[in-house]
């Protein structure tokens, strides 16, 4: 049985009919992770916990009890989520000696209660500051579609683990594009929900004003199922919005019917490759998006997001930068220091502009439900590649891979990224952007594209 080719629902069916045990699933997963170590997605494998969780599911099955919604499904989390008994790294060797987390992050405990099997923690850019997962201490994570290329970041391990077929889903975080960029470069589905939708309790913060958590998966059905499991009110998260739980799975099959789509032009069609434009055109045709709309001052939104990131990230790490600068990721040390020194006027102005930008953009959703834009300017670059060539300019790779995602997370809008194939064979992701707390519309549009066979076929390393 090829585990990775089964959907979550199909694997659960096999489990409940006794064709496979949860222990078999766990053991197969652990062996496959070991065999594909070269991807460098995991920074820690939690074998004992995974087998223990599996045995618990098998016991419930033998007793004839009803199984929880994600029973026996293997997953892994970005290493900034607390996992009881392990140090939370946030990609940084700086934290490797700190005390182990006493309990699981809110999202991880939700998944545990839902019966999912935790395989371990995943590599990321240090502090979640970067778009390539080229981590100087833990090494670069490799893109399963081409091992010489980056997986994208900062949730690079999360995307690579799922794209390789080693786990069915993973958790990542997105501050400026850290779910959408690696989903695009690795060719899988990712969901960045609305700012404030999901609890962030027990995840190591980077930029409190912009951080989101969200899932990765190989199909829209799997993605929605995990998203639905992660919803719920958490009194301990002060940033969570007071919104009712609104499951997306049941309505997926309505597809794009009644969903009014438009293409994002201007900034979003200027700063990307022809491959990205071609992918947008494919989706626009399928979703009958005739109109093109622009977000005025999108480039200022990106700058404002940079300022907030630098200022809050720099402030967060300033005490440790003072005492142990040599312990910092060389790719980020100087920009964190510079961020800590930014004039407060810049930061206040960025926050002020955020409100203004929201007021200008939100009325667009009176006319449209879903806006389409590329998730990255281009496909995955090779490891170590310093620049990308976009719109006639050479831009620094690590900072520029997120230029099309930054203005959208700055607005806090929900986005589902869908993978399409380019002429070169490498994938590229599209952002399907919806109004606040309308995740289900982005997911339905994504499902429609998947249903029409337009998204990247999910062949994994496990099928080779």
């Amino acid at each position: 049985m090829k585990l990775s080719s089964l959907s979550i629902n199909a694997l659960q069916q096999a489990l409940s009919q006794g064709e496979i045990s949860a222990r078999d699933i766990a053991q197969n997963t652990l062996a496959a992770i070991e065999q594909h170590k070269a991807i460098n997605a995991w920074t820690e494998v939690t074998s004992q916990r995974m087998l223990r969780e599996a045995d618990q599911i098998d016991l419930q099955r033998q007793r004839g009890e009803a199984l929880p919604p994600l029973a026996g499904i293997p997953y892994a989390v970005k290493n900034l989520f607390d996992v009881a008994g392990h140090s939370t790294l946030a990609g940084a060797s700086l934290f490797s000696a700190r005390a182990a987390a006493r309990e699981d992050a809110w999202a991880v405990s939700k998944l545990r209660q839902s019966g999912a099997l935790l395989s371990g923690m995943l590599n990321m850019d240090a502090y979640a500051y970067g778009f390539t997962t080229e981590n100087t201490h833990y090494g670069a994570t490799r893109n399963p579609r081409d091992l010489t290329r980056v997986a994208g970041g900062s949730s690079g391990g999360s995307a690579a683990a799922v794209a390789a077929g080693l786990v069915h889903f993973s958790l990542g975080t997105d501050t400026n594009g850290s779910i959408r960029v690696p989903a695009s470069l690795c060719g899988i589905f990712g969901l960045k929900p609305t700012f404030g939708r999901l609890s962030r309790s027990g995840s190591h913060p980077f930029v409190a004003s912009l951080d989101h958590i969200g899932p990765f998966a190989r199909s829209v059905e799997d993605l929605s199922l995990v998203y639905d499991t992660l919803q719920g009110a958490d009194a301990s998260d002060a940033f969570q919005a007071a919104q009712p739980v609104s499951p997306a799975s049941a309505g997926l099959s309505k597809g794009a019917e009644g969903v009014r789509s438009a293409v994002l032009g201007g900034f979003f069609s200027t700063w990307c490759s022809d491959e990205a434009r071609a992918a947008v055109a494919v989706a626009a045709k399928a979703l009958q998006a005739i109109d093109e709309v622009t977000l005025p001052n999108a480039e200022i939104a990106r700058s404002a997001a940079f300022i907030m990131t630098a200022a809050e990230g720099g402030n967060h790490y300033l005490p440790m930068l003072r005492t142990q600068p040599e312990q910092f990721e060389p790719n980020s040390r100087e920009r964190l220091l510079a961020g800590a020194m930014l004039p407060s006027a810049w930061y206040v102005q960025a926050q002020r502009f955020r409100r203004h930008f929201q007021q200008q953009v939100l009325p667009l959703f009176e006319q449209f439900d879903v806006l389409i834009a590329p998730a990255t300017p281009c496909t995955a670059t090779t490891i170590g590649q310093e620049t990308i060539h976009i719109n006639g300019q050479h831009l620094p790779t690590r900072a520029s891979m997120g230029m099309l995602t930054q203005p959208i997370s700055f607005l806090g809008l929900p986005v589902c990224t869908v993978p399409l194939q380019t002429a070169s064979g490498l994938p590229i992701g599209l952002q399907l952007i919806a109004a606040p707390f309308k995740e289900h519309l982005a997911l339905r549009a994504a499902w429609a594209l998947q249903q029409q066979g337009l998204t990247l076929p999910q062949t994994t390393l496990m099928d080779a």
């Binding site: 070269a38 460098n40 981590n135 201490h137 833990y138 090494g139 670069a140 091992l147």
Partner: protein, 127 residues
């Protein structure tokens, strides 16, 4: 050499990637990659199960004459250890379907200006 220089995760990840790239090339008889990953020098040594090869020229001649079928193998007890930023030892056992004897392979890898390269290797079969 102090303990923090042994098995630095980033170095270990690089060597692990190179090691499995070599393994894939071996199974697929990708002679170009096999040649790329051995140090192009007359001091490179490969002591095989049935041949002793000194220098890259002898190694190349052996590769060219090697059968291209039945190369599939499974690894077990693979141990990769790095020392500092530029030196590593990779040891593994391997088994082939239909072959009872256990194979052993040991390689010394060094990071040269052109990348990680095997500078010495030994392959044997347990009797």
């Amino acid at each position: 050499m102090t303990p923090e220089h042994i098995d630095r995760p980033a170095i270990l990840a690089e060597v692990t990637a190179a090691f499995y790239r070599y393994e894939q090339a071996l199974i697929g008889n990708d002679v170009e990659v096999l040649d790329e990953l051995f140090w192009h020098d007359k001091r490179t040594v490969r002591l095989g199960a049935g041949e002793n090869l000194y220098g890259i020229d002898e190694i190349r001649a052996f590769r060219a004459a090697r059968p291209s079928k039945g190369l599939e193998r499974e690894l077990r007890n693979t141990v990769i250890t790095t020392f500092g930023d530029n030196y590593a030892v990779c040891s593994t056992e391997f088994t082939r379907e239909g072959v009872e004897r256990i194979g052993r392979q040991q390689q010394t890898w060094v990071r040269l200006p052109c990348g990680w390269r095997i500078v010495a290797a030994q392959v044997s079969l347990m009797s």
